[in-house]
Symmetry: C2
Subunit: 889 residues, 2 copies
């Protein structure tokens, strides 16, 4: 196996072998650009090193020696030479960029001989010794693990001794002494003599880069970014060029277009007489790239020309590191540059206009997940703040407001004109009015598919869930956070009701006080790119919406129907007493009276939605949640009863409600009396809903509308359930048609959200005209993971220990849940070839999951309104063969 490749052997396609940096250095070398020569130790070498338990693979150092000889021959210089020494940099370079996560050694080759040669060559002894002491310092720290502070203290002591304020005031003699001091520090701390031969230095440095692949920072970064642990890193050994050889030298970073706005103007930062680290570190004030034309006119022209050449070659915006050594331009690195969402959209549109890329490539240039940035307010990127806690980034966007701890108080404050953040241990349907009133929601419990998270995403409001560092004291109306300080003491921050906090739902950060927020600005390019996406995608995108307003928002975002209209939200608010009356009804007459009152309300709801979505399909799910969700909270009611007891009295209303709560109490509500089981227990309820919906559709049709009704039975498990309820639906619809003298078309289908429904999909499809996969519940039951219990407590451990790569509630689990969906699709289509198939779980807004839906041939995904654009783009990516499948486990 060959381990080492000269730059001239590489090309940009080889990033898995040579790393991104090495591959691009190869590409630029081939293009004839002024790249300092060098070679790349491949990722294969790193993998062999790791596989053998950290042993340098046999033959590697021989290949390195040969490549080094070739490099020396080409440059006419030798490492460690006392006359004209070659110096090299040693940098990591993995297939995927991991900025700052791995190690770099510059000026390798410095020793007591070559420092003399460098002084000779540059005529600058001070520069030579400064480079030498910097090398010993960097090598000591990075390769030999000596603490940075030891070197800094020694430098500081010397400066005090010499009574100078800046290190540039030290003389070459001072620096020569410092080299000796630094080597002594190395000897003392690392227990080895500082390696003097360049060969030794190189061997040490390569091994250090290999090791850094499994350093803590690098591992954490890979986990966060979902990069595989077994890719390994390459090592680039490159001839050093110096931007700090004087005022005829300099260094900089440049982008071929503005990475923030996307404007097609070269953009960058530049420093005279400096090395690359100085630009990145931000110690000195950089100059804009345009200023370079004044100081280095020729190099500037050359750089602009190189940038233009690279952009054309890569057909994308490139990010370049360059150095000018004594008037000569070198390109040290290039890659396709990172950009903001706004810039990605603008570049895609403009590059297409320029003929550089076609529409499909333009669509692929924007990552679906990036779109969130454009649809929600964000913390001002220039704002400085300190977060006191971090929860799950449950719903994107930023919000600022006064803290309130109950839905009623949040609503009251909102009505008094205040901006509100609703803070709760967790939310329930009872809190809906408070969530509507709030700018954002913060909970200390619950995961990414908790009630708070799901509802907030539906509303497009920022939310942080499961921020378990928050100790919420509802009684005292405050929350506090304990933080252990550097000195080991604990600092408690307490936030009272009415105090202002800021939350960032995109990152999960909680900040005390107000952080400046910038409003979203999708802009013209957004619409253009999404329009192109629509040309490519085959998967339809619907929305999950329960109210006419949500429907309108979703239509703006391009929704092609409603995939899930949850009727339970229509049972809350001022209707709750009627619903409770229905549940508490002791006689069929009382139940019927309550249902009649609900009928009128439901019909109005449905008319509004059918009107908003005229001509588009609307899937209405019959009542799904357990009835006890409409009853008061167990513990609060218990408190009321206890209070009465202490007073020596009885609260008859509380006792009545308590009896109902106890009657409907369940050990595992997720697996209890809900969905169509509820319908079977209270058939009049489903008939009411069907009547309201069909009457609304008839009214719409009479008014010249085009209602497209799809009635969805929730939680079907058994074919006979579906047959039974389908019978009721058809009977009720026919009754309405007869009364009204008008018919409308409608479909009857079911939510497939239990494993058994998926397995027996063929049987159920004999009755069901469509399936909507409820992937939230299907995931819960397939894994046996209650989202309320497992996500907050187990998921962090599962991700930490790599038992799962990603939460199956975030990204659809292909091997388990996905297999069930695939199976159900096949069985369903076999029985009913034109059966409509879609998903309506939270996964409809996740790009990887959307890809899966496209891949197995579903008809649509349904996502919350603010996720519709993302789903459209992800569907286009999938149709274009990009955005491949992830794996949950």
């Amino acid at each position: 196996m060959k381990f080492v490749y000269a730059f001239s052997e590489g090309s940009k396609e080889q990033k898995f072998l040579l790393g991104g940096k090495g591959a691009n250095l190869g590409e630029m070398t081939k293009l004839g650009l002024p790249v300092p020569p060098g070679f790349t130790v491949s990722t294969d070498a790193c993998k062999a090193y790791m596989a053998s338990g950290d042993v340098i693979p046999e033959g590697l150092m021989d290949e390195v020696a040969q490549s080094l000889s070739a490099l020396e021959a080409a440059m006419g210089k030798r490492l460690g030479d006392a006359d004209d020494p070659l110096l090299v940099s040693v940098r990591s370079g993995a297939a995927f960029s991991m900025p700052g996560m791995m190690d770099t050694v510059l000026n390798l080759g410095m020793n007591d001989a070559s420092v003399v040669g460098l002084a000779k060559q540059t005529g600058n002894e001070r520069f030579a010794y400064d480079s030498y002491r910097r090398f010993v310092q960097m090598f000591g720290k990075i390769v030999l693990d000596v603490s940075a502070s030891s070197f800094e203290e020694a430098l500081h002591d010397l400066m005090e001794e010499r009574k100078v304020a800046v290190d540039t005031a030290l003389t070459s003699e001072d620096l020569k002494g410092l080299v000796t001091t630094f080597k002594a520090i190395v000897q003392s701390e690392a227990g080895v003599d500082f390696p003097d031969t360049p060969q030794e230095q190189l061997s040490y440095a390569i091994e250090a880069v290999f090791k850094s692949w499994n350093g803590r920072r690098a591992k954490d970064y890979r986990k966060m970014e979902g990069i595989a642990d077994d890719l390994g890193t390459a090592v680039n050994v490159q001839t050093m060029v110096f931007g700090n050889k004087g005022d005829d030298s300099g260094t900089g970073v440049a982008f071929t277009r503005n990475p923030s706005s996307g404007e097609s103007v070269p953009y960058g930062d530049f420093l005279v007489n400096a090395q690359g680290e100085d630009v990145v570190a931000g110690i000195r004030m950089t100059e804009p790239l345009s200023a370079m034309g004044n100081e280095f006119p020729e190099c500037h022209v050359e750089l602009i020309s190189v940038m233009s050449q690279l952009e054309k070659h890569y057909r994308d915006m490139c990010d370049i590191e360059f150095t000018i050594e004594q008037g000569r331009l070198f390109i040290l690195q290039t890659r396709v540059g990172k950009r903001t969402a706004a810039a990605a959209l603008r570049m895609a549109v403009e590059m297409q206009a320029e003929g550089m890329i076609d529409k499909s490539e333009a669509v692929l240039r924007v990552q679906p997940a990036q779109l969130d940035q454009l649809l929600h307010p964000q913390f001002d990127p220039t704002a400085e703040y300190d977060s006191i806690a971090k929860g799950l980034n449950a719903s994107p966007g930023a919000a600022v407001g006064k803290v309130y701890f109950t839905a009623d108080e949040a609503e009251a404050a909102f009505e008094a004109g205040e901006r509100v953040i609703l803070v709760r241990p967790e939310t329930s349907p009872d809190d809906l009015h408070g969530m509507i009133a709030a700018e954002g929601i913060l909970t200390s419990r619950g995961g990414l598919v908790s009630h708070a998270a799901v509802v907030a995403r539906g509303m497009g409001k920022p939310a942080i869930c499961g921020a378990d560092e928050l100790n919420i004291d509802l009684g005292r109306r405050c929350f506090s956070v304990d933080r252990v300080q550097a000195d080991g003491t604990t600092l408690t921050t307490t936030v009272l009701e009415g105090e202002i906090i800021s939350i960032n739902g995109s990152t999960g950060e909680v900040v005390v006080g107000e952080v400046a927020v910038v409003e979203p600005e999708p802009g013209e390019h957004f619409g253009i790119v999404l329009g192109w996406a629509d040309e490519f995608r085959t998967l339809k995108v619907r929305t999950n919406a329960d109210l006419p307003e949500d429907c309108e928002k979703a239509l703006e975002f391009g929704a092609e129907g409603v995939g899930l209209c949850r009727t339970e939200h229509m049972f809350l608010g001022d209707r709750l007493p009627i619903v409770q009356a229905m549940i508490l009804a002791d006689t069929p007459e009382a139940e019927e009276a309550a249902l009649a009152a609900l009928l009128v309300q439901q019909r109005i709801d449905f008319e509004g939605i059918l009107k908003a979505m005229d001509g588009l399909p609307v899937t209405v799910r019959l009542l799904d949640p357990p009835l006890h969700e409409f009853l008061p909270n167990h513990d609060e009611l218990q408190a009321r009863r206890t209070a009465a007891f202490i007073r020596g009295s009885v609260d008859p209303e509380a006792e009545h409600l308590w009896a109902a709560v106890k009657r409907w109490e369940e050990s595992n509500p997720m697996l209890g009396i809900r969905g169509c089981r509820l319908g079977i227990l209270k058939p009049a309820l489903y008939r009411l809903q069907v009547r309201a919906l069909i009457e609304a559709a008839v009214t719409r049709k009479r008014a010249g509308g085009d209602p497209q009704v799809e009635i969805m039975v929730p939680l079907t498990v058994i074919r006979t359930e579906m047959e039974l309820i389908d019978g009721w639906i058809c009977a009720e619809a026919e009754a309405v048609f007869a009364e009204q003298g008008e018919r409308v078309e409608y479909l009857v289908g079911t939510m497939v959200e239990t494993p058994r429904a998926a397995i027996t999909a063929g049987e159920i499809a004999e009755t069901a005209e469509f399936f909507s996969f409820g992937t939230n519940d299907l995931t819960q039951m397939t894994f046996g993971f209650s989202r309320d219990d497992v996500e907050g407590r187990m998921m962090p451990i599962y991700l930490e220990q790599k038992i799962l790569n990603v939460s199956p509630f975030e990204q659809l689990d292909r091997s388990g849940v996905g297999e069930l969906i695939r199976w159900a699709k096949e069985k369903g289509r076999a029985v009913r070839p034109d059966i409509k198939l879609g998903i309506c779980g939270e996964h409809g807004g996740d790009p990887t999951s959307v890809h899966f839906c496209h891949e197995i041939g579903l008809d649509y995904v349904s996502a919350s309104p603010y996720r519709v654009p993302l789903a459209r783009l992800a569907a286009a990516h999938a149709a274009l063969g990009a955005g491949g499948p992830g794996t949950t486990a």
Copy 2:
């Protein structure tokens, strides 16, 4: 389509066409036995009648008329003839016996003409008119739906008028008048003239039989017995013979062997001068069959010969109805006779010895479900009692004892020498000591797989669950049952602590006071038949047992290993405080101390079990239930805290436990932190268990034993969970081997009890060496049915409405859960051909489910000790191709 078959055309194989009765009448006719001639209207006719919405199928009555003519010709008599009339009986006869569930009409053909003929023929006018009035009465009631009491009142009035005490004292004139009165009653109540022509009568009667198929009683019976609704009934029209023509006549019922004991001696009841109904009705004292030899010596010899012929022909015990008409023997009916379990075993053994059947047939002659009768005490069949409530028959057998409402009090009473019935709303692991102390368990909540049910079956103790008529008042220590009386008033029965009740876990009946109980007596034939069963079956049978005593009991019953040893039961009782200390531990040290204390205990437990099961495989499941199950009850703790609060103080222990309860509280514990999730959260716990088990195995091996250890990881969902825990297990085992200088073999496998584990079984089998399907949980998750919530509340409705045919917790659901098991088996065997596969859910004790396990090729089923014999027999039936699959839905 041919609808009517003469008896001579039928044979015993045609029971689906001719019904059981018709088929056997055909068979006997062919054998030349003295069967009164007749014909059978086929079930096809009934099906056609039902399919057309209760219209007599075209051509049927023509065929009946032709068959009637043929019958008249053969008998030389005519229906309605005034000289020598033919009379016939019309009886239902379905494929499966439904005793007493459908209608029969005797003496059809009586009218004003034929009564004269009958009087002439018999020379007994009184007999003729008595027959006539009986016919009008029976026909009126059965066919024309006239109330029985109207006839009875008229008869009564007449007897008063005539001042006679018995109806036999009425004269022929009286009876003639009564016929007129009865016809007037029919006219008045049914609104039609009593049909006078025999053809009309026959047409009415056939239709009445068809209709009785869908009568309430018949439908209920079919549901109970699992007989399909669409089979329909046949109708047998047979020449009447009279056992009540005088002292030279008689009638009886006979069995070729004793149906109760199985003894090979003809057995039966006999009445002189009587009709069949009189024997069955039990109005007159019958004589034993042996007495018949005195009164009817020739008929007796002929009957014994017929019985012998029938038994040889049917190669089984036959049940015969016969009539002697004026000295001549007629056989009216035969069928293979029903028998007790004890009789079934004895007959099987003796018939095999006699060479009548072979061993395989002998095995098939005993129904697995019957064995329960032999293993548990039963209410004395002769005892009379009145049940006040009926719950689910959760664990078979009968028990009598004093009522106690808490486990502690039950235990104290037991220790004081009392027999105890533990009555609870439901039980939890906390109640285990009370269940151990009790003779039987009665709960008002929970279904067939509730804690109480599962544990009671494991212990072989009678239990009734979900007896929701019981209002249990734990505070006042009593329960009461409200029963609505016939007069509409409500009778409340209250049972106080210490009062005696009797429960029948085989039927679900609760009785106040003591009912005599008979002890089980499996007897010698039990062992012989089960031994033969073992020769045929290929499926192994293990047991679910947690204690050495249970293992020993199971070994007696033929268990071939332990399929499920639940370690959680080892964490209760006096160990509970240690377990709580572990859960409450604030520091790793405190946790470790608690675990060390548990280690010693666990090792002793495992040694006992491995010793009991020496040489047989023992599958030990690592801790599975959620930790909060080991903490005090939420509501009780809340009450303690409230009590302290009212006193103005704080109960620190209660507060400490409360914090733990709240910390471990879950919304859906079934889908929460349990199984291997618990292990991952508390790795030291699993390591402790593995250490205890492996140390126990080493000790056993040193002592010359042969421990066969299988370590089972519960609730695996993801391959990586299995890999992680397998790694821990192997590491801990190796550590023990190193310390002890001794190795033992062991397997590591997993419970497959989530849908995802089944779907990804191929991945999991790369690590797991065996799968044990936990069909209880797999059913819960596949259906999304929490057994605690759905079984009690929804299941009765689902069964009533035929949404399900049987609870999937009782009988394995083939289409859903079964498909997952089949899939997992295929994927698992593909990866690891020698993977051991078994089931350890409650279904291991259900014959139909055992059949499924055999059919798909699992290696074993595991059942609670008292169900082991049943599983052995069911496995043999399956291997012999009998006991076919049922369907859940």
